[in-house]
Assembly symmetry: C2
Homo-oligomer: 295 residues x 2
C-alpha cells in the first residue's frame, strides 16, 4: 500500500488504496472505465501484457505463468491493494494461479457476470457470447450452473477484430452480430431453452453494445461483464474503499472520474494501445509505459 | 543433412535434402503446400511458433529473437538444409537476424512476391494487401521500389480472422474485401497510379483468392506470395534439388505430393493448428508435435 497520503481524504492517516487491473491486451480498459466511474479519485494501475497476447491460443500452464507475472508486477511494483483480472481468458484459466501468486484479494470477470445474469434472468436460461478461448474453457457455463442457471455459450471470434478495426457502428458488424445471434438462439431453441438474458463475456464487446441491443429479441436483457465486475469490486472492496473516498465526492455518483490517478503499462509496443485505448477507456489513456516482465 | 537414404533416389549416395519452413502461426502452410507441389517426395519440417503469435504486435528485436530460435530448431533439430520463412512479418523484420543465426540459405516471402509483381505488371503500379504489421514495415513497398515498381499498401486486419472463422466463401467476407479494395483503389487513384497487379502479402490470403479475384477490376493480375515464394525456392535451391528428385516423379509436374515426408511442429497448444491447418495445407496435417523453444 502506498505511503503517500491523498490530499482530500477524510482520514489523513488512511492512505489511498491502489486498484491493480490486468488484461492480456487493452480490452480490459472497459473494466477500468467502469471502475473509475464507481471509484472516482482512486489510484489505478493497469497492465496489458501485449507482448504475449492473445492468451486465448495458449495453454493453461502458459497463461497461468504469464498472468502471475503481471499480478506480481501490480502488487510489487505498483503497490496494488487488490486486483481485478479484466481478462476473460485469464479469469477462466488462471484465477487460482493468480490468487496463489499474491496475498492481495483478486477478482475476476466471470463470477460477477454470472451473478448479474442470475439477478436478471426470469427463465433461468442464459446466452453467453465470448472469444473462442473463453467458450472452450466453459467457465461461464460452470459459473452460471453453480447459480442454478442454464447457459449456452458461443464463440464470436470476429467481434474483437471488428472492434479493433473501428467498425463498432458498421453494417458489416451488424450483419456478423445478426449471424452469430441467429445461430445461438437457434441452438438454444433446439435445446428447449427460453433464454431471456445475454452475457457479453469479452471486454471488447461493450463497444458493440448498441448494435447488440438492436439485434437481440425484444425483452432480452444484455449483461455487460465489465460493468458487472466493477460493481462486484465495489461490493467486495467496499470496506476498504469507504474510508478513503474523498469528502468532495461523498454522496455523489455523478463525478466524471477524470481526476482519477491512472497509470497504464504494456509489455510490448505501446502504439496500438495508445491509439485504440481511449475508445475503450472513454478518455485519453495518455502515455503508456513499457515494462519488461521477462520470459 | 539427414544420413537416412531415400528409397527411390536416383543416386543412393545423395541424401534427401530437408526444407525447413517457419511461420509464427500456421498460415505459412499455404507456402508449404506450394513447395510440396513443386518438390514432391522431399522432406519438409514446418514449425509454427504458436506460443508467441501474433508477431505483428511485437517489436523488431523480439521478433528477431523468436524467429532465430525457430530457425535454429529447424537446422539443429530437424537437419534442414535450407529455410523458407513463410511469415510476412518475420520476412519483413527479421530476415537478417535469421540469416545471421544459421549458415544455411534462407528465403523470405516478400522478395519473391515483389519479383512476381515485377514480372506481371505492365504499368509498374502495384497494390499490396497484408496484415497491419507487414504494412507498417513497408517491406513490400521497399522491395517493389527496388525493382522500379510503385506500390501502395493496405492493411486488411479482418481477413485473417475471417479465414480462421472458415468464412472463405461468405457474403460478409466478399463485402469486407470489396470495402478494402475500394478504399485501396481510391487511394491509388488519388496518387495518380494505374495499378494492374495486386499482391496477396499474407499467407492466409490464398484461401480468399476466389473472392479476391471476383472483386478486383477486370484485367488485374493477382500475385499469391505463397506461390511466388515456392517458385523462388525451386529457382534458388534448384541445383540441390535436381540430384535427388525421385526417378518416379521426374518429368511429372502432376504428382499430388501426398507422399512428401512432412513433420509439423508448434510451440503451444496444437489443437487449432490441427483443426484449421488442413484447409491451408490442402491435405491432413496429421499429428502436430509440441516443442519448447524456451523464453
Amino acid at each position: 500500500m502506498k505511503e503517500v497520503l491523498y490530499p482530500s481524504m477524510t482520514l489523513d492517516t488512511n492512505p489511498v488504496p491502489t486498484i491493480g487491473v490486468f488484461d492480456s491486451g487493452f480490452g480490459g480498459l472497459t473494466v477500468l472505465r467502469a471502475l473509475i466511474r464507481r471509484l472516482p479519485g482512486a489510484h489505478f494501475a493497469f497492465i496489458g501484457d501485449t507482448a504475449r497476447l492473445p492468451y486465448g491460443s495458449k495453454s493453461r500452464r502458459t497463461i497461468a505463468r504469464y498472468a502471475a507475472q503481471s499480478a506480481r508486477f501490480l502488487v510489487e511494483e505498483q503497490d496494488a491493494d487488490f486486483l481485478v483480472i479484466a481478462c476473460n481468458t485469464a479469469s477462466a484459466l488462471a484465477l487460482d494461479a493468480i490468487q496463489e501468486a499474491v496475498t492481495q484479494p483478486v477478482l475476476g470477470v466471470i463470477e460477477p457476470g454470472a451473478t448479474a445474469a442470475r439477478a436478471a434472468s426470469q427463465t433461468g436460461d442464459v446466452l453467453v457470447i465470448a472469444t473462442d478461448a473463453t467458450v472452450h474453457s466453459h467457465a461461464y457455463a460452470a459459473a452460471c450452473s453453480a447459480k442454478g442457471l442454464r447457459a449456452i455459450e458461443k464463440a464470436c471470434p470476429l467481434l474483437v477484430p471488428l472492434v479493433e478495426e473501428g467498425w463498432t457502428v458498421h453494417p458489416v458488424t451488424a450483419e456478423v452480430i445478426r449471424i452469430y445471434l441467429d445461430e445461438l438462439t437457434a441452438e438454444a431453441a433446439r435445446e428447449g431453452m427460453r433464454p431471456d438474458t445475454l452475457v457479453l463475456g469479452c471486454t471488447h464487446y461493450p463497444l458493440l453494445r448498441p448494435l447488440i441491443e438492436s439485434a437481440v429479441p425484444a425483452g432480452m436483457k444484455v449483461i455487460d461483464s465489465a460493468e458487472a465486475a466493477a460493481e462486484a469490486a465495489v461490493r467486495q472492496f467496499g470496506e476498504n474503499v469507504a474510508a478513503w473516498v474523498p469528502e468532495s465526492s461523498s454522496g455523489s455518483s455523478s463525478r466524471s472520474g477524470t481526476d482519477a490517478v491512472v497509470r497504464c503499462f504494456a509489455t510490448d509496443s505501446v502504439e496500438k494501445f495508445e491509439r485504440l485505448g481511449s475508445r475503450f477507456l472513454g478518455r485519453p489513456v495518455g502515455a503508456v509505459e513499457l515494462v519488461d516482465l521477462g520470459g
